[in-house]
Symmetry: C2
Subunit: 486 residues, 2 copies
């Protein structure tokens, strides 16, 4: 039933030791700025589009890539930080523990937002926005809440040049300020359920930080709802963890385990915390989303009451639930490999990259022309496509670069392909010749169908692979329980 | 030319005196919670759908609306605050000067975001995210920047329970931290132009606040770009103020005046500030968006340099530009009237509200059924439609309520309408009988075309009315200059 209690999760939840990472971060950061030259055992020659481009691809430029990623098996954390730096997903902010989310990383977050925003609205939630400054006294109103959050607070003590009379907390989460407002908005049962969500930044003064996984400031959505009955609140908490679960499986291709947190790990102020936990490539678990049944804890602390149908005043029953930019870290650590990032097509900012290949100048125009046509065809059918037509890099360098960025499909077009009206398509998830198919007709309806089909295949294949990996390291019994819940 | 200098703007920019507002805010806030009963000179009887519903509409419930809005002509500021409270656009946060943006107000902001986000991406900008905590020393690096912003800063001095070694500023704007990062990312001319945008919250410790117009914390987008030449930067600054201008005219139906700020009003740290200024219903101007040519000011302060094609190191040329939730205030104050909010269809969260009308219980099913069909037809054609089928309110109360919420079109369906297969449609912008058309066929293609046509008409009509109002109070010469610029 609903009181799933997967106590065996607890051991999974110890965060990966990040002390070592913190120590080596500066080095890793430097690595990016000082280009190192290390020959790469490149497999590009085997991957080039057609024989005529072999020379081009094999030339010396290719053998000296500017980027180096620590092998995943050698040092998982170093690999993780290298991928983030090289794929330009994020960078370190000037304040310790803060992170700048760069465009490519932010685009993954936008894809997450786009999907969840629709689901939240479909299930009756409205977006809104609460101020981030919370009077210090609010945090103290709910006993276990202050205990949980007070060590992690950033506090504003000066405003407009003056010492403030009451210190302000920069929101670590918004239950207190939400309840302060709910108390003013909720009068009768007719005002319930009240179901809202906000996309916002939150601040938690973490000592050990790691990009995406744990940063001083992060982005998230936080849902907050108030209901007339405990059953409704429980159903809502379950509904939202279910939406998160489906999102993880269907969009991120991450086979999370859904369950309930142990008492000690329950959210500070909640009665029950449901969680989705994902297994990373280093076999450590990552809490990837939570949904809390808050009971009447915050309602009592803030006097959030309603008049029921019989005229009796009662406290509301509440939930809150959140997914954050940490999820991007989960995607990197679930699917990435030694070549870098590997993105599930449904969340990839670029689903298909087109690399035109020419040797002689008189081939260039025809190749670029064909590449542009292919781009238009795919774009019109709603596929996120990029044409990398820069002159400054060799095709081999581009192959390497876009593989590292995790783009699911690559289309190669050379002069011979133009002549035969076909293209070469390579899958990111299957390296080398095996993932490469020659002679796919450029004919629009054929090409579109082929690409869409392959993207679906990759999406499924990533999930299957992650499930197999997970099942290899977890007792299958556990999943039977979970699967019945999901 | 580009050096447009509309010095006569300056007198427009003095903010509406908000001291008086601040004094009366608590009263206004209270007004909402203590329902006052004041008979309204209701014109509902004249507006009811068909004769058979007159009784229903005229009944006593209708004459005692729960909401009271101060007439606009009597006290513009009181009217403004009443509209915000009654239409549930926003509420006061617990910290002085902060604002909670409620779902209906936030939905207007989402419509603004949706439009601008597409335009920003079309013009080559990528979204990303910078941390909101900025080392205090950063703010001091650009001389006029610190002078402009230091009186308005919120400062974090405690983190994780400890006094911080360096105080942190909660971003009032992000030029400093952006330049800190740009300096690390930009190496050569190949890295330029660098064009990014972020949607974020910002904090400015304002003493006189007013919902949407001036709050301690607000939401905005801030664009930041770096270029190789001053011409490129100037073109970018102009391009963005042009996008804002088009947005204001075409989406918000606000005939802004585009020009350049005087020296004293130029952004702290910029060389030139372009602005769009809107005239509110009280004939006061509102700065509704700005685009700054920053020259090399921040580049010099932060050492943001690139190597040009000749191998010479040079400072980049930059711009920044922003539109904030203040724009929602501009929409309220441009179009609203004594009945409340009036929203331009293109930004309205609800474009059409359907009010079913029945007297006898045996009429209810047929009326609701027809209302649902109409809703489906409109929804499928992409129109934002709401069916208000609640039992708790009379049709007259609903007419009043949705007019106050500024919904552009109302569809009324009664039993006789069902019998004749038609509906009654009323325009928000034309009160009473004049704005009401009977006997519009329910036939899907006809209804869809009629509604879309009317929404376009209302959009144009709001703009025309606002232009006429503006031109009545401004010297026409001024606009000739502006129009040629726009």
């Amino acid at each position: 039933m609903l009181s799933l209690r997967l106590t065996s999760f607890t051991h999974l939840l110890s965060p990966p030791s990040s002390a070592a990472i913190a120590r080596r971060s500066p080095l890793i950061l430097r690595r990016r700025h000082h280009i190192r030259q290390r020959p790469l055992a490149a497999s590009f020659s085997a991957q080039s589009a057609t024989a005529e481009t072999q020379d081009r691809v094999n030339n010396s430029k290719n053998r000296v890539p500017e980027r180096v990623i620590t092998p995943r098996s050698q040092d998982f954390n170093a690999w993780y930080l290298d991928v983030i730096a090289n794929a330009e997903l994020a960078d370190y902010g000037p304040v310790r523990g803060t992170m700048v989310i760069r465009p490519y990383g932010y685009a993954i977050w936008e894809a997450i937002q786009e999907y969840l925003n629709v689901k939240f609205k479909e299930t009756g939630h409205s977006n809104m926005y609460f101020p981030q400054f919370i009077p210090y006294s609010f945090i103290e109103k709910e006993a276990s809440h202050v205990e949980g959050f007070s060590p992690e607070l950033a506090v504003v003590t000066i405003g407009g040049g003056k010492e403030l009379e009451e210190k302000l907390v920069v929101r670590p989460t918004s239950e207190t300020i939400v309840n302060h407002m709910f108390t003013q908005w909720i009068h009768s049962y007719r005002d319930l359920p009240l179901m809202i969500n906000q996309w916002a930044n939150v601040t938690r003064w973490e000592m050990r930080t790691k990009p995406f996984v744990r940063t001083l400031e992060f982005l998230w959505q936080e849902g907050h709802t108030a209901h007339a009955t405990p059953e409704e609140a429980e159903n809502e908490a379950i509904q939202m963890i279910d939406i998160y679960t489906r999102f993880a499986y269907e969009q991120a291709a991450i086979p999370v385990i859904t369950g309930r947190k142990s008492k000690v790990e329950t959210f500070a102020g909640a009665c029950k915390t449901y969680t989705i936990e994902a297994m990373m490539g280093d076999k450590k678990a990552l809490q990837a989303g939570t949904s809390h049944n808050l009971g009447q804890n915050f309602a009592r602390a803030f006097g959030t009451q309603f008049t029921d149908e019989n005229g009796v005043r009662e406290h509301v029953w509440q939930t809150s639930w959140a997914i954050s930019t940490r999820f991007v870290g989960g995607i990197i650590m679930t699917h990435g490999d030694d070549a870098g990032l590997m993105l599930p097509p449904k969340l990839a900012p670029i689903q298909v990259v087109i690399v035109p290949i020419w040797k002689k100048d008189d081939e260039k125009a025809a190749v670029l022309n064909a590449a542009l046509t292919v781009k238009d065809v795919l774009q019109k059918s709603g596929i996120k496509v990029k044409l990398d037509d820069s002159d400054q890099r060799t095709p081999g360098w581009k192959f390497n670069f876009w593989e590292m960025k995790g783009v699911p499909l690559r289309i190669e077009i050379g002069p011979r392909d133009v002549a035969s009206g076909s293209v070469v398509i390579s899958r990111r998830d299957i390296p080398g010749k095996q993932g490469k198919v020659f002679g796919i007709s450029m004919e629009p309806s054929n090409l579109e169908a082929y690409v869409k089909d392959k993207l679906d295949e990759i999406q499924s294949s990533l999930l299957e692979r992650a499930i197999a990996f997970r099942d290899r390291f977890f007792p299958s019994m556990l999943f039977l329980v979970c699967d019945s819940y999901i």
